[in-house]
């Protein structure tokens, strides 16, 4: 397989048909391929997230990351956009689902799309991945250390952070969960509770909790990076998407 790809900024229709910015990367080859929606983390539509988008394209997928902060901060630096949205209370769940749906529709409209859609997100994007997979028809979802799926957030959290375990019966696809044993949000106890609930509901899932890793162990530009967990995790992600997309 060639790893040649094309990457660019595009405009897609998100929630309520709003036009939003998105980062697209796709293989140059014309083989049929699945699409991956990458949900950026709370620090924004940044260089590290775009690198992940290109990585999926290098592995044969069309990948698209919608800029969830397009409306509040069009054209702003990712950190300024993140600060603005944070101060405004975060991204509403309903709008997030609409934006992911728009991204999935865009991917499926591209030449070579096989109709299969995966969703992946880290940190806040992990929770939003679970939310999307319980709200939309998705083919495979990867939750990387998403907090507040299960646990009640501490007092003072914005209302956008409500737990969403109650949505589990609507989970539409297999779920891969990658977590750190030293993480507090989500804690191993919370991810175990999610796993138990998915077992009870007969929902296909595969969870891995890495020792010596905490939150954000995939983030190569942060001290939280844990090379062993990240390398193994990437292998599991591509194996998982390879089976379902």
């Amino acid at each position: 397989m060639s790893d040649a790809l094309r990457a660019e900024t595009v405009t897609i229709k998100g929630h309520d048909d709003d036009e939003i910015e998105a980062y697209l990367a796709r293989p140059l080859g014309d083989e049929p391929r699945g699409g991956v929606v990458v949900i950026h983390h709370m620090p924004g539509y940044d260089a590290a997230t775009k690198e992940m988008v290109r990585r999926f394209a290098a592995h044969g997928y069309a990948a698209l990351c919608p800029n969830l902060y397009s409306r509040e901060a069009p054209g702003a630096d990712p950190d300024d956009a993140a600060a603005t949205v944070r101060a405004a209370g975060g991204v509403p769940d309903e709008r997030l689902v609409g934006d992911v749906d728009g991204a999935a529709r865009y991917l499926n409209s591209l030449e070579g799309a096989n109709g299969k859609i995966g969703v992946i997100g880290h940190c806040s994007g992990g929770r939003q991945t679970f939310l999307s997979a319980c709200s939309l028809q998705i083919d495979a979802a990867v939750d990387c250390y998403g907090a507040f799926v299960v646990g009640d957030p501490p007092a003072g959290m914005p209302p956008t952070m409500k737990p969403i375990l109650g949505l589990a019966p609507q989970l539409s696809c297999p779920l891969l969960g990658l977590f750190g044993a030293e993480d507090k949000f989500p804690s191993p106890a919370e991810t175990a509770k999610l796993s138990e609930e998915l077992d009870r509901l007969g929902k296909e899932h595969e969870f891995h909790t890495y020792e010596n890793a905490g939150h954000a162990f995939f983030a190569v530009d942060r001290p939280s990076y844990r090379v062993e967990a990240a390398v193994d995790g990437w292998g599991k992600i591509f194996d998982f998407f390879g089976r379902y997309l």
Binding site: A87, R222, P223
Partner: protein, 92 residues
């Protein structure tokens, strides 16, 4: 971990952002991941003028020790000056 918690206050002052000097109307303080400081978490302070858009922002990321020392230094500097010297609405 991400805390998601943000403490916001209205302020009056000025600061130098990428676009030059701006009026500051709002400050947000939160303990969460930094963008630039090389540690997992920091005390982040955004001084901003939301009406002028996302780029009208002066951002700092401090260690907990630095943030507390800064708070003390602010109190000490104000206490050492004549009362009300820098209060809102004063003119030379």
């Amino acid at each position: 971990m991400c805390t998601y918690q943000t403490h916001k206050i209205k302020i009056s002052g000025s600061g130098k952002a990428k676009m030059g000097w701006i009026s500051l109307k709002e400050a947000a303080v939160y303990v969460d991941h930094p963008v630039h400081l090389q540690q997992d978490h920091s005390v982040n302070i955004d001084f901003a003028d939301p009406a002028r858009g996302p780029s009208a922002r002066v951002a700092v990321e401090l260690t907990e020790e630095a943030a507390l020392a800064l708070a003390d230094a602010i109190h000490e500097a104000i206490a050492a000056a004549p009362p009300g010297l820098a209060a809102a609405g004063t003119r030379p």
